[in-house]
Amino acid sequence: MAELQLTDIRKSFGAVDVIKGVTLTVKSGEFMVFVGPSGCGKSTLLRLIAGLETISAGALSFDGQVVNNLAPSKRGIAMVFQSYALYPHMTVYDNMAFGMQLAKAGKDQIRERVEKAAELLQISPYLKRLPKQLSGGQRQRVAIGRAIVRDPKVFLFDEPLSNLDAALRVATRLEIAKLHHSMNGATMIYVTHDQVEAMTLADRICVLRDGVIEQVGTPIELYERPQSLFVAGFIGSPKMNFLNGNFAGRYGAKTIGVRSEHLQIGAGEGTWTGKVVHSENLGSDSYVYVDIGAQEPVIVREDGTKKHQPDDPIAIRPLPGQVHRFDDAGQPMGRQ
């Protein structure tokens, strides 16, 4: 419902620059994910958008209106916190209604909106309970419900799934994706350090590193055409294999990167030969760690459940056109 424009946003805590000039447009109705290693400033950037931190320099505008000095509640945002941040002494209903009560909304209107949100998130049976009587997943749904009730222009999620266990995380991830579809038009910004969450949820991903944007693009763009060595290594699981020295020299690059699924095991006629270090069998596919004389073992994905013994000799080769080449500065030189 709202388009966000960040123009050269900067934030420093004392002498420490945390956000060093971020310019970004989040389109109306887009699901944007901020991703990056811890300490890259992604949470700070979200808090700047929320208004929980003051912007040191630059302009933040919602639909063309600068909101730098607007209080969080006046910006039309709602935020879901990592630790849920529910009011422990209020019932689920009151937790969700609190914002509207403060905004002096009518009682019937509040009831209607809370009940609608509760229904959407399937927490209607718990409206009279206290947060401590709920499980972690239910609590996080209440927190999301509290955000929905505010009917915001922009939803902000600060690592909302990292306190949940693995199974619940996948389920809640699906819920959030469904929520984005059902609330057609709501702009969502989602912070995570988990690149799987980023890949599965995002319309576009913004990769941050040390307070600057490394790359913005759709998940597939980032996966297939990383604009730097950092993005290439950060997006994708398992991590992209990087090779230096002679391995890269043959491709006329400083570093080359090949994803594990773009390596083929060939019997003898491969480009690189080496020994199996270890193999992991995941059922549907397996990962083989191969020592080819590079600094780290190369990971190769193989369909099926074929077993490799350690120290078995093995030959591997990259699929043509799937070798990412990078120059001295870590900039891409195209694929070969």
Partner: protein
């Protein structure tokens, strides 16, 4: 032969271990009994004495022998005592109310707002509570004369609040610092002002701390003697502890122990009731469920 010896040793070791355990238990209970006796005996003896009359009072015995309410009727026959009692209630209640309002707001600032000199300010507040009452008595007396509060209840409320604030501020600051920041931020996003955050979000979570500090402030104000003696000149503003000390007998040489004890029991009873009532309110773990874990 050897096996017999070994078999014989085993039970002895077990029983000596049990004996040692028993000794420890008995010693522990003796210690508890000793502590309870030391703490409770004076009050028990006061109750005992308050129900005696006439020359019975000067006879030492540890169990009730007679029962008379003479002392209590005498205390209430004294018109001034009811006045003293209501003075005490007003002074203690207002002191608690005032110091809780001031310390809740102060501790919000001290725990949540970042400003220069916050640590220094906290240490200063703590330092204030180090001065003994006598050291500030003269200065405080001047201040109270200056504000024209002498011989009024406000003189006592004012001075008691000053003395209870450092403690309440420190305790509440520590409690508030432990409240999760995210809850406050969620409230900010919901549109709450600092005032609403304090009263509608933090206060309910601070109940245990408020009850504890409020109770201690009440007890301190209720029992205070030195200021109450110095800042009042007649019965209109006198509180119970001072009034009791000024009880006089028929002649100059008679100390009216009976009425003194009856009055003492009367002023202690409300404190005991208060503690019993509020101890059930002192529940920990109120923040459970609001944030993770």
């Amino acid at each position: 032969m050897t096996t017999q010896v070994v078999a014989g040793v085993q039970p002895v070791r077990v029983s000596s271990f049990d004996l040692w355990k028993l000794i420890k238990r008995v010693a522990f209970f003796l210690l508890v009994v000793f502590i309870v006796v030391v703490m409770v005996f004076p009050f028990y003896y006061a109750i005992l004495t308050s129900f005696k009359s006439g020359t019975d009072i000067y006879r030492v015995n540890y169990w009730p022998t007679s029962f008379a309410l003479d002392n209590y009727t005498q205390v209430f026959a004294n018109q001034g005592f009811l006045q003293n009692l209501s003075n005490s209630v007003i002074v203690a209640a207002l002191t608690v109310a005032l110091s809780l309002v001031l310390s809740v707001t102060a501790s919000y600032a001290l725990s949540r707002v970042n400003f220069r000199g916050r640590g220094l300010l906290l240490m200063t507040i703590l330092a204030v509570s180090m001065f003994p009452q006598v050291a500030v008595l003269a200065g405080l007396f001047e201040l109270i004369r200056f504000y024209n509060l002498f011989n009024s209840l406000w003189a006592l409320i004012f001075s008691y609040t000053i003395f209870s604030l450092p403690f309440t501020v420190w305790v509440l600051t520590t409690f508030m610092r432990d409240l999760p920041v995210e809850i406050e931020e969620a409230a900010i996003v919901d549109g709450a002002t600092p005032w609403i955050i304090i009263w509608r979000v933090f206060m309910p979570l601070l109940w245990p701390a408020l009850v504890t500090t409020g109770l201690l402030a009440f007890i301190a104000a209720w029992n205070e003697y030195l200021f109450a003696l110095t800042f009042t000149s007649d019965n209109s503003a006198r509180t119970v502890p001072v009034a009791i000390s000024l009880f006089s007998g028929i002649s100059q040489h008679e100390v009216p122990w009976g009425t003194i004890m009856a009055a003492s029991v009367l002023v202690t009873a409300p404190l005991v009731v208060l503690v019993l009532v509020f101890q059930r309110k002192i529940i920990s773990g109120l923040t459970a469920g609001g944030v993770k874990g």
